[in-house]
Symmetry: C2
Subunit: 213 residues, 2 copies
């Protein structure tokens, strides 16, 4: 069997990938959101995201402007998403990415209150000072708790990225977020994931940092 490799220099692989996927997009993308959508497709090789990613008006532009001011905290609901967010871009912008899922006090609170750890981690994050971006790629329970806190006025996040994946209350948690007056990026349906959450964060961070691709 003969396998023909494409010759691409290491530094050009991402650019070439973006060219290839852009050429295959099912339809033109809204300019404000195009880099986010393309980065998610780059991360998943799944063109469904061109049709299911949903943005509140100004979500990307406003978040990019905020990131440029510095001092933003990104809170993820998995260590995996936390690991996937660009530390270099965060450093450049004076942003920080945190995940509370592995914290002992979060595990204890979840046991004490009969919630998921993801919910207990959101409770912990409610105490953060300064602008917060929530990036939820895994736990619909976390997204529902965020929505409750937004609805009762106890939380005003800069952005909620609602891209949990799966089968139990995932679709519902996203539809709930879509009803709320909070900046959001949602992937409607069952798909999403920690990789998707990280990709969306990175697209916004890269734009804010002036890295073009």
């Amino acid at each position: 069997m003969h396998i023909q490799l494409e010759t691409v220099l290491p530094g050009d692989i991402e650019k070439r990938s973006m060219e290839l996927l852009t050429a295959e997009l099912p339809h033109p993308l809204d300019a404000e959101n195009a880099d986010v959508i393309k980065r998610v497709i780059h991360t998943t090789a799944d063109f469904d995201y061109a049709d299911t990613l949903t943005f509140s008006a100004g979500a990307c532009d406003d978040t990019v402007a905020l990131l440029r001011q510095g001092g933003v905290t990104i809170v993820t609901d998995t260590q995996m998403a936390c690991a996937g967010v660009s530390k270099a871009a965060c450093r450049q912008l004076g942003a920080e990415v945190r995940c509370f899922m592995g914290d002992d006090d979060v595990a204890a609170a979840a046991r004490a209150n009969g919630t998921t750890r993801a919910v207990a981690a959101v409770e912990k994050a409610l105490a953060l000072q300064g602008p917060v971006i929530f990036a939820v790629g895994n736990a619909p329970t976390a997204l529902i708790r965020i929505c409750e806190a937004v609805a009762d006025g106890s939380l005003r996040p800069a952005l909620v990225i609602g891209v949990p994946v799966g089968f139990v209350n995932v679709v519902q948690s996203k539809e709930l977020l879509l009803t709320l007056p909070v900046p959001h990026i949602v992937n409607r349906g069952r798909k999403g994931g920690s990789n998707v959450a990280a990709a969306i964060c990175n697209a916004l961070l890269y734009r804010a940092a002036g890295r073009t691709l």
Copy 2:
């Protein structure tokens, strides 16, 4: 808008998810590989994996038996996949998960040799003692380097998980792995990812650790 949530106790969410996705599978799965395929679908909500995940004969059973003996090192090509592999299961089995992508010597070697960091990280992993599982969810360049080392006899991994995602040499790197006489789990086509690599590792770890789901 009224949103109807399904009432599921925190400890039952994963079980309920598995029930729901099992009911929607497009066809029955081979028993040896079913838990791996279902865990990937659980991680992605993408039923395409029921048709594209490809296993060499005995890959899962042999890897589970090996994990039970202890001392296995899992090498991932991203920090994200590394973060996603169950540390609790690794501890129980005396296994270790490592990623060399962030190492200073790897960055230096990549610069010196004009390769991707992913290739330099594979080079570093070649020196590991004991049984090694390579889990490649991102970089086809890493998978191609592993294939070269297998082909020239300098590497005999216990298992190669070949699930890079994307557009440049991704399909080719997987087809190359499929030609080699090495235990492998491959997702044919463009799809894959760090989340998929971690999910496959976890399915094997959970089975070895006696955790059923």
